[in-house]
């Protein structure tokens, strides 16, 4: 394992701390183990209301941050730990399909943008769901189905069953015209969707397509040692 980001780039940790003091003064960055853990309460600010709610959270910034996605935990049991609430069994908040985040932010995000965007969207959505039983930004199906739904949208496919064959095409290093078209027509790709697939290859990184082909179930994230099995910060 290489040098953790906070050792290799102490300026980034300093920037995170300055951003927190300015924008989220009730969140604090601690050095724990090989990474950084941000802990405190996350406010949901609304126009004309001010702070509508605060969530107790812990965010793990792993040694590979910012390329490795931070993991967010809701630590007070405020949100039930149920897949239907997009919460993993250890209180891990399932903010998005990981491949969607990686496509949107290939080099990772500035931590402040992550808080103001993905983290806020998730907890705002939880508030709306509690009130109206509706996910305001929509929701993904659980597991592989949710990841395939994302790729279906991304690739503009009419059916989920085509996701695997298209991703296989996008994952090939040198695409040859004689292979069968991923659309399932039975024709060679050069006589069918060659141009469309080439456009997709320009848009979707090969590595992301390879990740999309991995249908192994993603293990739920586990909280750091400083968060007990109940989710409560020790």
């Amino acid at each position: 394992m290489g040098t953790p980001w906070n050792k290799a780039n102490p300026g980034l940790l300093k920037q995170i701390r300055e951003d927190l003091i300015e924008h989220y003064p009730t969140l604090h960055a601690y050095e724990e183990g090989a990474g950084i853990v941000v802990r405190g309460t996350f406010p949901i600010e609304l126009p004309d209301v001010g702070t509508a709610e605060r969530f107790h959270i812990t965010i793990v910034l792993p040694p590979g941050y910012p390329k490795v996605i931070p993991t967010v935990f809701e630590t007070k049991g405020r949100i039930p730990w149920k897949p239907d609430r997009h919460m993993g069994e250890h209180g891990a908040a399932c903010l998005f399909v990981p491949e969607e985040y990686r496509l949107k932010y290939p080099a990772g995000q500035r931590f402040l943008e992550f808080l103001q965007g993905s983290v806020r969207d998730y907890f705002l959505a939880q508030l709306v769901f509690e009130r109206d039983n509706v996910w305001p930004f929509g929701q993904r199906p659980h597991g592989v189905d949710g990841r395939h739904e994302f790729f279906k949208e991304l690739l503009g496919l009419p059916e989920s069953r085509l996701v695997h064959s298209y991703l296989s095409c996008l994952a090939i290093k040198d695409l040859k015209g004689h292979i069968f078209c991923p659309c399932g027509s039975g024709k060679r790709i050069r006589e069918c969707h060659w141009n469309e697939v080439q456009l997709l290859r320009a848009r979707v990184p090969r590595r992301l397509a390879q990740e999309g082909l991995d249908t192994r179930q993603v293990a739920p994230a586990r909280p750091p040692a400083s968060v007990g099995s109940s989710g409560k910060v020790l």
Partner: protein, 301 residues
């Protein structure tokens, strides 16, 4: 606004009136628990009293627990021969109505709905037995500690905090702990605050809080606490771990910098934070702006 005037407003907003819904709910829960315990231990007449912030005058609306004692007379063995028996028998009695999570000396009551993770009534019952017929000192069973028996005295604890002259500073610092999710036990935080403030004569809230945070920031490794009810026999150092010290230092450092750069309101927010329910319009406005920005959909592995 003057810092002290602002902090007084924060305190007022954190005060629960005796006729408030929250206090009524607390009283109702207490009555339920008391009825259950008295029915289970009808030969014993256990002393069931408020302990914790309700008795010390340090309750804050944002976060409070109901702490109740369940102390048995020194010569009473009907609830159990040993302290451990008492602890387990009180636990068994409470389990007839609640899911019970054992803590070191207390029993925490959770709801019975297994589907709701973290459903927590925020009620702690502390079983114990008086050391003698005077019914002042009490022995508690310790579930997690090496020493099974802990001698303590609720009245000494209550008066140490209640009569300290610093209950308002304690309430503000408990709110600070809650807002920053600082992992320090209430009892330890109270003892530290009283100890620190007793060393200096400060009357303004803002000066008191600043002084406490400066001590947390600059002397976190020198902080010590002693149980006023049992200074030599009850070692509280295990509650002031390096992790707790680091947390106090980090949060205090950030807080002082926040005040310096942005003022007090950045630390405690608007005094009436959370009192206004989010309107549908406010939620729609927030959601709409994020829909346009391409908010991602939540998922589950």
């Amino acid at each position: 606004m003057d810092a002290d005037k602002y902090l007084k407003e924060v305190l007022e907003a954190q005060t629960l009136a005796e006729d408030s819904d929250e206090i009524k709910a607390l009283q109702k829960r207490r009555a339920e628990v008391e009825k259950l315990l008295r029915a289970e231990f009808k030969d014993s007449n256990p002393r069931i009293r408020y302990a914790g912030s309700k008795s010390k005058g340090t309750m804050i609306a944002e976060s409070y627990d109901l702490d109740l004692t369940c102390y048995f007379a020194n010569d009473d063995t009907s609830a159990g021969e040993s302290l451990k028996d008492i602890y387990n028998n009180v636990k068994k009695a409470l389990e007839k109505k609640y899911k019970v999570s054992p803590k070191n000396t207390a029993l925490r009551l959770l709801g019975l709905d297994q589907d709701v993770h973290g459903q927590d009534f925020h009620i702690d019952i502390v079983p114990g037995r008086f050391t003698d017929a005077d019914e002042k000192d009490v022995f508690l069973h310790q579930e997690d500690a090496q020493k099974e028996r802990l001698k303590t005295n609720l009245d000494v604890h209550v008066s140490h905090v209640k009569d300290s002259g610093y209950t308002d500073a304690i309430r503000l610092l408990k709110l600070w702990r809650e807002r920053n999710d600082a992992n320090i036990k209430t009892f330890v935080l109270e003892l530290l605050i009283i100890d620190i403030l007793s060393a200096k004569s400060l009357t303004r809230f803002s000066s008191q809080l600043t002084f406490v945070w400066e001590q947390f920031r600059d002397k976190s490794d020198q902080l010590t606490v002693k149980d006023p009810a049992n200074p030599e026999g009850n070692d509280l150092s295990k509650l002031l771990t390096n992790e707790v010290r680091n947390t106090l230092k980090r949060v205090a450092t950030d807080t002082l910098e926040t005040i310096d750069k942005q003022g007090w309101e950045a630390v405690f927010g608007k005094p009436k934070e959370g009192k206004t329910a989010a309107s549908t319009e406010a939620l729609i406005a927030a959601v709409t702006s994020r829909q346009a920005a391409g908010a991602m959909k939540p998922w589950a592995p």
